[in-house]
């Protein structure tokens, strides 16, 4: 009996202590990143941006209590993402979730809208992401702009007309197909063949043979994770020497390090890392010091997404309001523009930030900017 009383007392003490530490001022936001599986390489990239933002926010004491991120593993797939989102919404009770990948974002957006939880995407680029409701925001320009930027440039500058598309068979890949068809038609090019690949496919030597047989001027690759790197490697290894074109999802360290990536044309959001504004200067200096490498757009996006929460929550706390999804949305609409990495930015009506698009080429494992297209002007 004495032992039972001791155990009861211990549990009671722990409960009291845990209530004590979880004070109302503590802030937790959620994140649904791919932390395992073939897309896990993105998880590390995304987390390096969001974790640095948390360090800065807590060091500056921007909020009344410390901020932390509850990470859930989405594997880059809709089904595990919905499980993770359900947990974040119903158990962890977060008002704000960082999201990534088109399929994942579309799958969780309904839960976000229904429960008034803001979901912010900094990695998925499917054009559909601009229409997922008020509680779904994008801090990344979507891929329709990337395609609209690169194809006219290549047709004009390199005389590329005949294009083959290899795309992943999911909502993201299909959106690229639609966009490429319409952009090429209006720009004077031609989509001569399309080849979709299942998300689990790993062998592309047969696809390479079909690409060679089609004799295109260029090949557009629309996949992600390990698969897109496998496609590039196997195309090059199997005699496809045409110009390869891809989108911002390719610009991750694993892909840049691949020798076969040399000469690829890729698009990505334009971020002025040399900007003199204090937010950008601090981010670039601290990111480079902490991770010993230059930041990329994905690092910027998840830093910005996390920092945006702190700016909104700080404003709400100053007014004595509760930090809820509905209040965060109202405050975002009220403030309108924000000082984030890359400068002073504004959300469009559809909840998407507008950035310029850069056309880049990969040289010696690094990107070189060929042209910048600003759709906002």
């Amino acid at each position: 009996m004495k032992q039972i009383k001791l155990i009861f007392a211990a549990i009671s003490c722990m409960s009291i202590l845990s209530f004590g530490t979880a004070a109302a001022e503590d802030h937790t936001i959620g994140a649904l990143f791919p932390l395992s599986g073939p897309n896990a390489t993105y998880g590390d990239v995304f987390m390096s941006g969001s974790d640095l933002a948390v360090e800065h926010i807590n060091a500056d004491k921007m909020l009344s209590g410390p901020l932390s991120i509850a990470y859930e593993d989405s594997q880059g797939l809709p089904q595990p993402a919905v499980v993770g989102m359900t947990k974040l919404v119903n158990v962890t009770n977060v008002p704000y979730v960082l999201s990534a990948f088109t399929g994942v974002s579309k799958a969780i957006s309904t839960l976000g809208n229904r429960n008034e939880v803001v979901a912010v995407n900094g990695g998925g680029v499917g054009p559909d992401l601009a229409a997922l409701g008020e509680y779904f925001w994008n801090v990344i320009p979507l891929v329709n702009l990337e395609v609209r930027a690169v194809m006219p440039y290549l047709i004009k500058e390199q005389g590329i007309k005949r294009v083959v598309l290899i795309y992943i068979d999911d909502p993201f890949g299909n959106s690229i197909l639609d966009e490429l068809e319409s952009t090429l038609e209006s720009a004077g090019g031609e989509l001569i063949e399309t080849m979709s690949v299942p998300t689990t496919a790993q062998q592309f030597s047969g696809i390479a043979a079909k690409v060679r047989a089609a004799k295109p001027d260029a090949v557009y690759i629309a996949s992600y994770g390990a698969q897109q790197i496998q496609i590039v490697k196997q195309l090059r290894d199997n005699g496809v020497d045409q110009q390869l074109i891809t989108y911002s999802g390719y610009l991750v360290p694993d892909a840049l390090a691949l020798p076969e990536s040399e000469g690829i044309i890729a698009t990505g959001q334009g971020v002025n890392y040399n900007s003199e504004d204090p937010v950008t200067k601090r981010f670039v200096a601290d990111y480079t010091a902490k991770y010993n490498r230059a930041p990329t757009a994905y690092n910027v996006n998840y830093y910005n997404a996390t920092y945006l929460f702190a700016l909104l929550a700080q404003a709400l706390e100053a007014e004595g309001k509760e930090v809820t999804g509905a209040n965060l949305l109202a405050k975002r609409k009220e403030i309108g523009t924000f000082d984030l990495v890359g400068g002073n930015v504004s959300f469009q009506e559809n909840g998407t930030l507008l950035f310029p698009i850069q056309v880049k080429t990969i040289k010696n494992g690094k990107t070189e900017v060929l042209d910048t297209i600003d759709f906002g002007k």
Partner: protein, 289 residues
Amino acid sequence: MLALQLTITGLQTGALYALTAVGFSLIFGSTRIFHFAHGATFIIAAYLFYFVNVSGYGVVLGIAAATAGAIAFGLLLNRFVYVPIQRDEGSFFTVFVASFGIGIVIQNIVGMIFGRGFVTVQTPLSFSVELMDGLYVSPLAWISMLCAVVFFGILWCFLRYSNLGLSLRALADNPELVKAFGLNPRYISACAFTIGSILVVPAAIISGATSGLNPAMGHHVMLISLAATIVGGIGSVAGTLLAGLALGLAESLALLYVDSQWTEAVTFAILFLFIIVRPSGLLGRSAAH
């Protein structure tokens, strides 16, 4: 020309599938252990080769390390996981769950050590050479097919003519009779794990150079192995070899007739067809229980 190109590509893919699948089939056929962690053996061998290679110790040491790692993993798993479960009369399902769990643990450990991203073994052997107009073949394609021929030749001779090979076949047929003849089933099981693990090494190394590696690819390897084992006939090494080659060829040649997104589905359509029409597989024996 496209058909010839796809045939050679399919033979290369099929040779790798066969090498992977035969190891699984040999272990499963002899011991009746559903060694789902065979995909993890593939990952261990591939990453050990990659590590030794990028560390500058060369190909020979890389192959030695990959082989030693694969054998050690197979033997340790058999000794410390499968044997205790079987000793306690653990069911087939218990063994499967344990093996599945080990596969996930290995995937995560490899991810922690080598990173969760994509890595590749860089070699000039992976670059294709144009043999005639429109026909490109890489030296690794020939090496894959050569490995398959050599390894299966040795395996066939071993199973047919050596005492240990005969014991392995006997264990597959009747474990109780093996005991009655004074042979040690545990020793024979260990031999099955050793040989099965060795067979996966060439496929792991070549895959590292042709398609690259990531820690999560073990499940895909296992899926193909399982399909080849069922199509070939459970327990039939020769059947699994033929099935592996056939699946690789079918996956590649399907591009001539169907959209690229359906090529993987062809593998499983063949599997489904065999389950319906010929459940015992290509060379498996029909059994009525």
